[in-house]
């Protein structure tokens, strides 16, 4: 009967435990994939000194990590891709999945370019940090932004400006890009103004009802 099938499914479903900092960062996309697919998971968030205490015993020495029936997987994008494959957020063809991966790699390149800007950005309101923040924004942030969001704009238009970076379905790169836009909007208001196609992507992705529900109920952190 139906209840037996449900029981069998429950017994077959893996047990997921996701460990990260209490923040969105590079862990948020995994949490969103769980929520969007109605998949239960343990959302472990480490606060303050908790990470430093367990770091040396942790599987790989960095966060996040995902346990699937006790088996450990690390690296945020390997985790995101694995979950996205399980739950159907990788596009509809192998080529689409590969294009999502390529955009993920480009995002990581952008992240590396932006690194010297992030710390001054987070600390901009601290005593004496304003000048460094403005300098790094001009020398580092703006060129990196123009390069990356220029690429995204081109790809988004090529894909028909349909609310998705690749194909016609929500993929994990949509989630990564839009969450990051939210971070930049918070710390550097106006930083992404002028990238109209990206604003369109952001609006359409954030309009996804289940995502909107998660955004409302998740713990609130600036990034």
């Amino acid at each position: 009967g139906v209840s037996q099938a449900t029981e069998e499914k429950k017994n077959m479903s893996p047990v997921y435990k996701f460990t990260y900092f209490h923040g969105r960062g590079i862990g948020e996309v995994a949490r969103q994939l769980f929520f969007l697919s109605d998949t239960p998971f343990e959302d472990v968030r480490l606060v303050g000194e908790e990470w430093m205490k367990i770091k040396d015993q942790s599987p790989w020495g960095h966060l996040p990590w995902l346990e699937i029936d006790g088996k450990v997987l690390c690296q945020s994008f390997a985790i995101a891709r694995y979950l996205a494959i399980q739950f159907g957020f990788v596009g509809k063809t192998p080529f689409e999945s590969a294009m999502v991966d390529a955009l993920g790699d480009q995002y990581k390149d952008y992240w590396n370019d932006m690194k010297p800007f992030f710390m001054p950005m987070y600390r901009q309101n601290m005593e004496g940090m304003k000048e460094e923040f403005e300098k790094k924004k001009k020398d580092v942030g703006e060129p990196a932004r123009d390069k990356f969001y220029g690429i995204l704009t081109k790809e988004y238009k090529k894909n028909g400006s349909n609310g998705h970076m690749v194909g016609d379905s929500l993929t994990w790169i949509d989630l990564v890009v839009v969450d990051h836009m939210g971070v930049m909007d918070h710390y550097v208001p106006g930083f992404l103004d002028g990238f109209e196609e990206m604003r369109d992507l952001q609006k359409k992705v954030n309009a996804n009802p289940k995502l909107a529900e998660w955004i409302k109920k998740r713990p609130h952190t600036p990034q």
């Binding site: 997987l73 390997a78 080529f95 590969a98 790699d105």
Partner: protein, 209 residues
């Protein structure tokens, strides 16, 4: 030329070097898949740059559709032809180790740029400051991985994967810059020996440009 009607047309474009395209070339060769190995001279890069989606090579054209980013390309080909492990979880571990490898490449970059002649700097000083500590961390991890995997000639599972190829090719590059660079990692070196002696790979390595 008899065209296999179901097989896509593949064209891989990169410089005249192993670099970030070599693993993909190896995957085509290992799987017996015909492809165009398009090598462009660095001096002509300016002509092609704006034609690529992310202004970078390698790019892989699959029936005219263009895929950028070397790891996305390698993973795509590997999954198509069975070089990505035997399960979704194994494939994910390979992805994770490959990302770890990319992080390591980023950390050794100041040394690497000087080693390949792309910038000026103190080779010995950069080697001590960037190459050696990051090598110890990353290859220490791989040493354990190889041992935990039973020294079976692979870093993950029991089949040849694109991660095996990535590491074996990188070791060759580093040994060219620093002979004996990985002498402290015998399990890694033993695994590399087994990888490069895979018959079809050995054949490619001997005949490649």
């Amino acid at each position: 030329y008899l065209s296999l009607s179901n097989m896509p047309n593949y064209k891989l474009t990169y410089f005249e070097a192993r670099g970030f395209a070599e693993v993909s070339r190896q995957l085509f060769h290992l799987s017996g898949t015909p492809y165009v190995d398009n090598r462009i001279q660095r001096e002509r890069w300016g002509e092609f740059k704006s034609m690529t989606p992310f202004e970078k090579v390698p790019v892989l054209e699959i029936d005219g559709k263009v895929l950028p980013q070397s790891f996305a390309i390698a993973r795509y080909i590997a999954r198509e032809f069975g070089f990505a492990g035997r399960s979704n979880l194994e494939a994910a571990w390979i992805d994770a180790y490959a990302d770890q490898f990319k992080d390591y490449l980023e950390y050794i970059r100041p040394f690497f740029k000087v080693a390949i002649g792309a910038s000026q700097g103190d080779f010995e000083q950069l080697k001590k400051e960037f190459a050696e500590p990051n090598r110890d961390k990353f290859f220490g991890f791989l040493e354990k991985l190889a041992k935990d995997n039973g020294l079976n000639g692979h870093f993950v599972g029991d089949s040849l994967t694109w991660f095996d190829l990535l590491i074996a090719d990188h070791i060759l590059t580093m040994e060219n810059f620093v002979p004996g660079f990985l002498d402290a990692f015998p399990a890694v070196l033993e695994t590399r020996e087994k990888i490069v002696n895979t018959p079809k790979l050995k054949e490619w390595i001997e005949k490649r440009p």
